[in-house]
Symmetry: C2
Subunit: 217 residues, 2 copies
Amino acid sequence: MSTNLSPVQVATAGRKPMISREDIIAAALKLVGPHRSVSSLSLREVAREAGIAPNSFYRQFRDMDELAVALIDLAGQSLRQIIGEARQRSRTDLSVVRGSIEAFMAQLRADDRLLHILLREGTVGSDAFKQAVDRQLVYFEDELRLDLIRLAEANHTGLFEPALTSKAITRLVFTMGATAMDLPDDKYAEMTEQVVTMVRMIVTGTQVLGESTKSVR
Amino acid sequence: MSTNLSPVQVATAGRKPMISREDIIAAALKLVGPHRSVSSLSLREVAREAGIAPNSFYRQFRDMDELAVALIDLAGQSLRQIIGEARQRSRTDLSVVRGSIEAFMAQLRADDRLLHILLREGTVGSDAFKQAVDRQLVYFEDELRLDLIRLAEANHTGLFEPALTSKAITRLVFTMGATAMDLPDDKYAEMTEQVVTMVRMIVTGTQVLGESTKSVR
DNA sequence: TGTACATCAGTGAACGCGCGTTCACTGATGTAC
DNA sequence: TGTACATCAGTGAACGCGCGTTCACTGATGTAC
């Protein structure tokens, strides 16, 4: 274990690296896509794409697993920012649902490689791999939960089990996204409507079930 | 392409096979599990487990992809039978939801290898692979849709977009199942409750949204 | 500024391995007479 | 029943390949004086 876990080199002495983690990440992203998963990439393949010797890879990452986790974390950050922006645009009404899902699907359609990774790699790969994906999912669930609570308060509706609701929505949207990834462009609009309707079902159900209690916890 | 797609040999002449497709499938099932996916199995590995020469594999399957599709189809059949039995036990009320999900989770907990495959392999692997999983999912959605319609008629409730509802439920349950697979045994009861609640949200939402129309189409 | 030295990022060559696939074969089983 | 022959399920050996990882190295950059 190195004591320097930061991507910024301490640089007490010696030469600066010419190959950065970012170069390798960029190379990996060039290789993945709707028909290619991170877990199927080989170290040599990534090195080849990055234009470096295979063993130079080890200067930046311990192994492919560490690269994969880095990719997943990046993907999570990127998507949360996109959804966060969509949320800002419409805060207090139900259109936040539609807005967020539309932003999500648009990003998917734009062939966002990072997003492909996040949607698809959750079920295969090493434990470290799966945990990284799960961690990102939990971030989404947390943010969505707070949103749901805010929404319920603003509309004076009940809210049943906000944590479970946000988990159901997150997981459902991600699965549907993984399916949508392989679809031709002209199916995206239809798919978006389907997902919006599905999420409305959950939100409506949650409000109704919460009506008796009117509790937000 | 062979004209004989049936697993039963025509046997017009010559020796009967001593190695069956079933032997190879059994060997593959011994190798998969919560921490091992079909897409990571090698032909030689399966042959080794089956106790046959690597090239004998080709007498039964064109390649690993064909084996994987066979496994997925088997998994779908097996699970549909299990859920079908659960459905028989309680036909006309909402307990069909709980019953089916409990049967599903119990099977998962019993370490059903076939089920692991079906839950996990949908997002990676070849196109043939993904299509096979999708085909099984659609079977489930169809059966569930008919159930939902029957349920709505029996209870005289409305039903909004039954096809979309069954799709949402199926996909959500499968994703949650894939997550549950990696959990320790003592979390299964809690997980089951969570999934039941999530599905109730969808069903409730569907009924409320359908109330205005009272249509079952 | 100039010189001697230390550091270490990146490399080229090589390793042993397991892989999918092929080939020519062998010998048990079934068929024809 | 007995014999000659055809079929073809299963095999052992070999192939070339890409893989992850190692090793000893080189030479540009930074530091000390």
